[in-house]
């Protein structure tokens, strides 16, 4: 048992953090939001740091790293509330690397690792809410290949991505497919989301697709779990920075002749924020360290983590705004953007109540980090 980061992990964090601080300041971010919430150049810079290939094997041109490195990177990106969906690349490279046939891997992973191809997960449907096994998109065999029809929503950077990992029902069973955006019958649109990033709708009409795996639910659950661990880590970065911003403000802002950091009721609120931050950080570690565990153990861990993170995010975000007072609800001042990011992350891959249900349904007699 050891929670120290290795030197390499430390160097990775420093590199990403440096890019965030120097290369992705609030003004650049604001400009990206104004331009639609996604900047291919910024994504390219992340790829240039090697981050798009984090989970890609070295033979396929990646770094061949694991969940802890993923966590380190996502936390650093979270501190800068970076809009570009690197978490999607962690998910889709993870899925292709783990479940796709060799030729599909060879065709895509190197391009994904280099940042040339952005591939995102397109699983959300209208009736599914947070359920992964609800899917109306269909896949039918068409010659040697497959054809997909259906609509997916809230697909990250839908109109900018190069390809999509798409769950669809093939002969009554969920399977996973790779769909290129330039394929026939593909429609994609784009819109901003509440946190300033970009998403869109993906429509498929007899669209040619390549099979990743027929064991689609297993793979999808795994992919979403990669996403949950990434979201947890990102959230820790967002919260850590949110607390710093708030602390700085409280030591500057004066009311009744003194810094508001001197009011005991507000001080205790900050203590509670620190509590939520450290519990969240602990559970983010837990999620990432369980990401390679057997599926049942992994799923249970993600649910527990998301319950803690969800509670922490809501508390830290709301209180940060409250402690800022009026300035906290303006667009101009940065803290509201952190709050909105936290709000969106809570609803990403299942909100707190959803995962509480998962924890509740999975409860055993014995519980703990190792049980």
């Amino acid at each position: 048992m050891d929670f120290d980061f290795s030197e390499d992990q430390g160097a990775l964090r420093d590199a990403v953090q440096k890019w965030v601080e120097k290369g992705y300041d609030f003004e650049r971010r604001r400009a990206i939001v104004a331009a639609g919430g996604f900047d291919r150049a910024a994504y390219g810079e992340l790829a240039d740091l090697g981050l798009a290939g984090l989970y890609v094997s070295e033979e396929d041109g990646g770094l061949g790293m694991g969940p802890v490195e993923g966590m380190v990177v996502m936390e650093a990106l979270g501190r800068g509330i970076v809009l570009e969906p690197l978490a999607q690349t962690l998910i889709t490279t993870g899925l292709l690397g783990g479940y796709a046939p060799a030729e599909l891997k060879a065709a895509w992973l190197p391009r994904m690792a280099s940042g040339e191809a952005l591939v995102v997960l397109a699983h959300q449907e209208r009736k599914a809410r947070y359920k992964l096994d609800v899917c109306a998109t269909t896949a039918t065999q068409a010659g040697s290949g497959w054809a997909l029809s259906g609509t997916k929503n809230l697909v990250p950077a839908a109109d900018q991505a190069d390809a999509f990992v798409v769950p669809a029902m093939a002969a009554g069973k969920l399977a996973l497919f790779l769909v290129e955006r330039t394929a026939t019958g593909v429609g994609s649109s784009g819109h901003l989301t509440q946190d300033g990033s970009r998403a869109g709708e993906l429509t498929l009409k007899d669209t040619p697709a390549q099979l990743i795996t027929t064991d689609g639910l297993t793979a999808l659950e795994h992919g979403v779990d990669i996403g949950i661990a990434a979201a947890c880590a990102e959230a820790v970065g967002v919260m850590d920075k949110t607390v710093s911003i708030t602390v700085e403000y409280m030591n500057t802002r004066k009311q009744f002749g003194v810094a508001i950091a001197s009011f005991q009721a507000l001080r205790h609120r900050v203590a509670d924020m620190k509590m939520q931050l450290e519990l969240a950080r602990s559970m983010s570690y837990y999620a990432s360290l369980k990401l390679n565990a057997p599926a049942p153990e992994r799923r249970a861990a993600m649910a527990r983590a998301k319950v803690q993170l969800g509670q922490s995010m809501r508390f830290v975000g709301q209180q940060a705004v409250q402690l800022h007072g009026g300035i906290g609800v303006t667009d101009e001042y940065i803290v509201s953007h952190y709050f909105k990011k936290l709000t969106q992350l809570e609803m990403t891959y299942g909100d707190t109540l959803h995962h509480l249900g998962e924890v509740s349904n999975r409860m055993q007699d014995t519980a703990g980090v190792f049980a």
Binding site: L154, L266, V321, G325, G326, G328, V329, T330, T343, Q344
Partner: protein, 393 residues
């Protein structure tokens, strides 16, 4: 002790209900029921309809042209308006500055300003907060210097709600720096079309411009626009704040929004989920408890026998409830509250909202916006200070 309204009160309610039904524009009600964007015309249109009926100053005594209703009647009026989907009346004129003018203004001021307020013709704004004085209102710095028969005003106000539409603004200004901060404040009415007044909208976290900064650069204000005595403004401001009681809890709106929450929960398929439903049930209890608290205050006001000094509690609980229903609405839609499509918040938008429910478009924005409720009107921390003071001394 009796929970039921008297037959007279019931009849009064029926009268209001009938009138509102006949006079509230359907388009406006539709926007309110769906949290769509309200225009200046939506707001002022309804104000003028009320004004024509003599009800825009629904809290005013008869001597000033109001209906002279008692506390319960006022509440019934507010409730019927809220449940029917009327927009909240912008309070700065009829609810805030008018009572101050009535209590502390001179006859000339009353005759000059009250008619425009009562009719809804003149849009008033509030100039209280400044960048350095939020919770600590007594520290206002915006200066008004007396020069002959005018004041020269210099400084800045902020968080001026809907100030972009404002024609007149009532301000707390500093006329003296001697003694305690409270003693050097005056209450001044300023024509916003005066040279030197500039208004800059502040974009809020939901993308809307609901509040403004207002700058005064050597603005000349006739001394006759001073309310009451110089340096006594703090007293008048406090009168104004204490005047607001049950209104601040906004329980009638909460009841309407609770209904909307239930509609959304049904549409989004979480109505039958015990976990989510219980959250609504808890909120329902909160709303009923708040309503009972409001009714107790109203009853005490009506009878005059007991006074319940629990305005702070109404503000705290009311604002928490507003935040909670907006939070639950957003959580009910879950991922489908996440698209941020500004046009979709306009009535009549015909686009394709991702997931198909255009009604979800404003949910997250409303949730974000509602964070203000525990900050403004005296932050809930300040309210807790006040409540603690009454209990602990």
């Amino acid at each position: 002790m009796d929970l039921a309204f008297t037959p007279e009160e019931q009849a009064f309610r029926e009268e209001i209900r009938g009138w509102v039904k006949a006079n509230l524009p359907a388009e406006t009600a539709h926007k309110v029921h769906n949290a769509l964007r309200l225009t200046r015309d939506d707001l002022q249109g309804w104000a003028k309809i009320l004004g024509k009926k003599g009800w825009l100053g629904w809290g005013w005594p008869k001597e000033f042209g109001g209906p002279g209703w008692n506390a319960v009647q006022k509440h019934l009026f507010e409730e019927e308006c809220a449940l029917a989907g009327a927009p909240r009346v912008v309070p700065f004129g009829p609810v805030m500055v008018a009572p101050v003018i009535m209590a502390f203004g001179n006859k000339e001021q009353q005759e000059r300003f009250l008619p425009g307020i009562a009719s809804g013709e003149v849009w008033w704004s509030q100039g209280y907060s400044e960048p350095g004085s939020g919770s600590d209102l007594a520290s206002v710095k915006c200066r008004a210097e007396r020069q002959g028969d005018k004041y020269i005003v210099n400084g800045q106000k902020t968080w001026t709600t809907l100030g972009q539409y404002g024609e007149w603004i009532f301000c707390l200004v500093r006329t003296s720096t001697e003694g305690k901060p409270q003693t050097g404040i005056s209450f001044l009415l300023i024509d916003m079309k005066s040279p030197g007044v500039s208004v800059r909208p502040i974009k809020l976290l939901d993308g809307e411009c609901e509040v403004n900064e207002v700058w005064f650069d050597n603005v000349e204000v006739p001394a006759e626009n001073l309310i009451g005595e110089e340096n006594k403004g703090w007293t008048y401001a406090k009168h104004l704040l204490s005047h607001e009681r049950t209104n601040i809890a906004d329980v009638n709106r909460a009841k309407r929004e609770l209904e909307r929450l239930k509609r959304i929960a049904r549409t989004e398929g979480v109505w039958d989920d015990v976990r989510f439903r219980d959250q609504i049930a808890l909120l329902e209890v909160d709303v009923v408890a708040l309503e009972m608290l409001v009714l107790r205050v109203l009853s005490a006001e009506k009878s005059g026998k007991n006074s319940l000094d629990i305005a702070g509690l109404l503000k705290i609980k009311g604002s928490e409830i507003q935040q909670r229903y907006s939070e639950l609405m957003m959580l009910a839609a879950g991922p489908y509250s996440l698209p941020f499509i500004e046009e979709a918040m306009e009535a009549g938008w015909q686009g394709n909202f991702p997931g198909g429910e255009a009604a979800n478009a404003p949910l997250a924005s409303t949730y974000f916006n509602m964070r203000k409720t525990t900050i403004y009107g005296g932050s809930n921390e300040v309210q807790r200070n006040i409540v603690a003071q009454t209990v602990l001394g």
